[in-house]
Structures are given as structure tokens and as C-alpha cells.
Symmetry: C2
Subunit: 177 residues, 2 copies
């Protein structure tokens, strides 16, 4: 079983934590990434190629700014610039990790509804595997927030792995991530 | 990234094809197995340990025998023996493949409702990953047959990977497998 074939292309959907503070990866996407490294990549970094997709939700990103005053087009431009910088910081975290481990990777940002964008990017990029983190919400919580992972398992045109956040890592409000 | 850690324990739920003929693995579980070998195990057979679970459905197994006549307890015993032999043949296929590739594995049979048994075996055995094949049915077909994979993604207490059967490999009736 020589590993001469093309590396396994792993697409990961990554998002920011909803907890306050400086932008950092959500608990569930960090859990999914660490799990993929330790359980799938293991000692074979050249066998895998990571593709990090960050989907920014236009409305949601502005939500923190309820108190902001938009007085000119420049204010909106500034807001968009700030969102872009946050997204780049997020991707930088994952690209740095891969670089340190000798795993090839690419990362990019898209805008829209995460579940729709992830599935259309799968169609376009055709990865071997899509990894999605999940908050592991119960049925009651799920009704209100929907879950990206469930949608992707049904609709993404490639094998999908769902990795639930550990119960011990859930924040006070399980809808946070 | 030395691979000194314990191998990744991959549980696979395997089932027989519903197509007529000598017992052989279903299209979807064969697809899932081949995919796991080529995309995850790759050139690292010592990094993985396979756990093959075959769940036999008591009622369903007897369904082919509508025309049979059961005249004594021995007839039932014989039927059960035959089911057991079919299950062992199925597991033998996967164990042989692993043996040839130098991948450690274990295989066993359980009885009951596949989705419930798979999740309870995950709880008991605690694999790192559960691999389930899926027929990739559309929403209309799914209503009538339910899907084991959807249930496992929601309820199994470990990361779950769902691998859909290729469209080109679907038999005439997509509910067959």
C-alpha cells in the first residue's frame, strides 16, 4: 500500500467563536481540526491536503454593531474591512498550524448562508472529505438554531464527517460556540 | 508528528446486499470500506484498527423464507444456523481484506434494530470513528425506508462519517443495496 496517490483533500468549514473577545476559532471547529490531525492525519502529513473555508454571514457579522452609527458610505466600508481582517485572523490560525506540521493547505473566505455556501463550494472544489464540527445540541436546542452539519450530511456531494464538541467543552450557554 | 500513539479505532457497520445471490457486502458498505482504505488509511496500515459490526435483523432475515415450512423446532434452529453462516461469510470478506493489507481488525455479529444496536455498540466499544455507508436516497425515498446513517450521526457518541454510494453504482431500484 504505497502512498503514491494524490493526497486526500480535506475541506474544513471553520468559523469564529461566538464568545466575546478577540476573534478565535469556535470550540467545535477547533475540536474538529485537532481530532482530524490526531485521528486521521496521524504520522502521514504528506498524505493530506487541507482546504479551509470560512463563510461570513453578512447580517450576523453586523449584529455586534447595533449601537454603531453609520453616517456615511465610509462607515460601511470600514465595517467590511474589519470583518475581512477578522476572517483572515481566523484562517491564519489554521494555516499556521498546518505549516508547522508540514501539511499543505489553502484557505479562503466566502459570504452567504454557511450551509448553502459550504455545499456549493464542495461541488466546485470536489474535496475527498468534508469535516464539520457540531455543537452536539439536543433536539430542543436544535429546533431554534438549525444545524449546518445536518444539512451538509444530507446535501454535500462528498463524504462528510461530523465531529461533536466534547460535553466538557460546552460553554455555559450550549448555543454559544 | 511521530505515530507512537494508539491506532485510530474505526468501527464500520457492515451489512449484506439486498440483491439476490450469494451473500456479499452491500454496495454502500463496500463503497464506504474502499473509501476509508484509500482516503484515510492510505499508506499507514499500522495507524488504524478496524472494528466490523454486523447487525442481523431477526424478522428481516426470515423474510426470504415465506414459502418455507416450519414443522419442528429443528427447522428454526436450521434457519438460525443459516443466518449465522451468512453473517460469518460477510465478516470474512472484510477480515480477509484487512489481513492482506496488514491492518489489525476485529469483527462480530449482533442482533436487533441496526441503528439502535450500532449506537449502543459505539457506547460500549468507544471507537474513535464510526463509518456508515448510505444509499444516498432522496427525501421521498427516505420517508419510507428511514436511514440508519442519519440516526447514527445524531445519536452515536463518537465522530461519524457518512459515505454515500456513488450514483453510478445504484441498482435499478435505489432502495436495493
Amino acid at each position: 500500500m504505497a502512498d503514491s496517490s494524490a493526497p486526500t483533500r480535506v475541506m474544513m468549514a471553520v468559523n469564529e467563536s461566538s464568545l466575546k473577545g478577540y476573534p478565535h476559532p469556535s470550540i467545535s471547529c477547533r475540536t474538529a481540526f485537532d481530532w482530524t490531525l490526531s485521528k486521521l492525519v496521524r504520522s502521514n502529513p504528506s498524505g493530506f491536503h487541507f482546504l479551509f473555508l470560512h463563510v461570513q454571514v453578512p447580517d450576523e457579522d453586523g449584529f455586534d454593531d447595533m449601537d454603531s452609527i453609520y453616517a456615511s458610505p465610509a462607515d460601511f466600508h470600514q465595517m467590511k474591512q474589519r470583518d475581512k481582517i477578522r476572517g483572515l485572523h481566523l484562517l491564519e490560525y489554521f494555516v499556521n498550524q498546518c505549516h508547522q506540521l508540514g501539511i499543505k493547505c489553502e484557505a479562503w473566505i466566502r459570504h452567504g448562508d454557511p450551509k448553502e455556501v459550504i455545499c456549493s463550494e464542495v461541488k466546485r472544489v470536489q474535496p475527498d472529505l468534508l469535516v464539520v464540527g457540531s455543537r452536539g445540541l439536543g433536539p430542543f436546542q436544535r429546533v431554534f438554531v438549525g444545524t449546518v452539519s445536518e444539512f451538509c450530511v444530507k446535501h454535500a456531494e462528498c463524504p462528510v464527517i461530523t465531529i461533536k464538541r466534547k460535553a466538557t467543552e460546552a460553554p455555559q450557554d450550549p448555543i454559544d460556540d
